[in-house]
Symmetry: C2
Subunit: 111 residues, 2 copies
């Protein structure tokens, strides 16, 4: 359905990419700066950055021969929303559980 949500979740599925996001939380970094912290080549890090960009989780600013990568706050919204849908479900489940305990009669999706 939603290709942006899909790319966002896909970007978060790799531990290296989640690590990159946490490092970017301290400010923007170039590809070379990020590569220092990982046991892989610059090209591999660059690939991860492309996936993160496709997921809308980072933005890029090119200055001279350097490429600065930074977090994109908006990109996290679809993911947070998707998770929140389930939070609402937990609340309903707890409400149902409360009903079951108090009224000894089940009404909700637990059947």
């Amino acid at each position: 359905m939603d290709i942006n949500t899909q790319n966002g979740f896909r970007a978060l599925a790799d531990p290296t990419r989640r690590d990159i996001l946490q490092r970017l939380a301290c400010g923007e970094h170039t590809i070379a700066q990020l590569t220092e912290h990982f046991d892989m080549t610059r090209a591999a890090v660059r690939k991860h950055l492309t996936v993160l960009s496709d997921g809308g989780l980072i933005t890029t600013r090119v200055s001279g021969r350097e490429r600065f990568n930074a977090l994109d706050p908006n990109g996290f919204a679809p993911i947070r929303d998707w998770i929140n849908f389930f939070d609402q479900f937990w609340d309903n489940q707890l409400t149902n559980l409360k009903d079951i305990i108090e009224n000894n009669d089940r009404k909700g999706p637990l059947q």
Copy 2:
């Protein structure tokens, strides 16, 4: 680092698996019931359910020859926590932006 968080994010990376989770929000389903809604074999659905179980997002109850799959509320906690870390970051960024506008002097991680 955290293998459980990793398995959780990996489980959410596939659109079929996210679809399964949303269907399970309406109550538990057997493998055959879930398979009706997808254009793939029962074995493929079963594989997705294994990944979801590895991620701690679902639990399983076997009754006779049927296998009932249901959501596991606890499994979503690590993912929500990880996302929340960035929400806090956005708040800080907004605070910094406010400082910049009001005091015309930058203090935070934007350098």
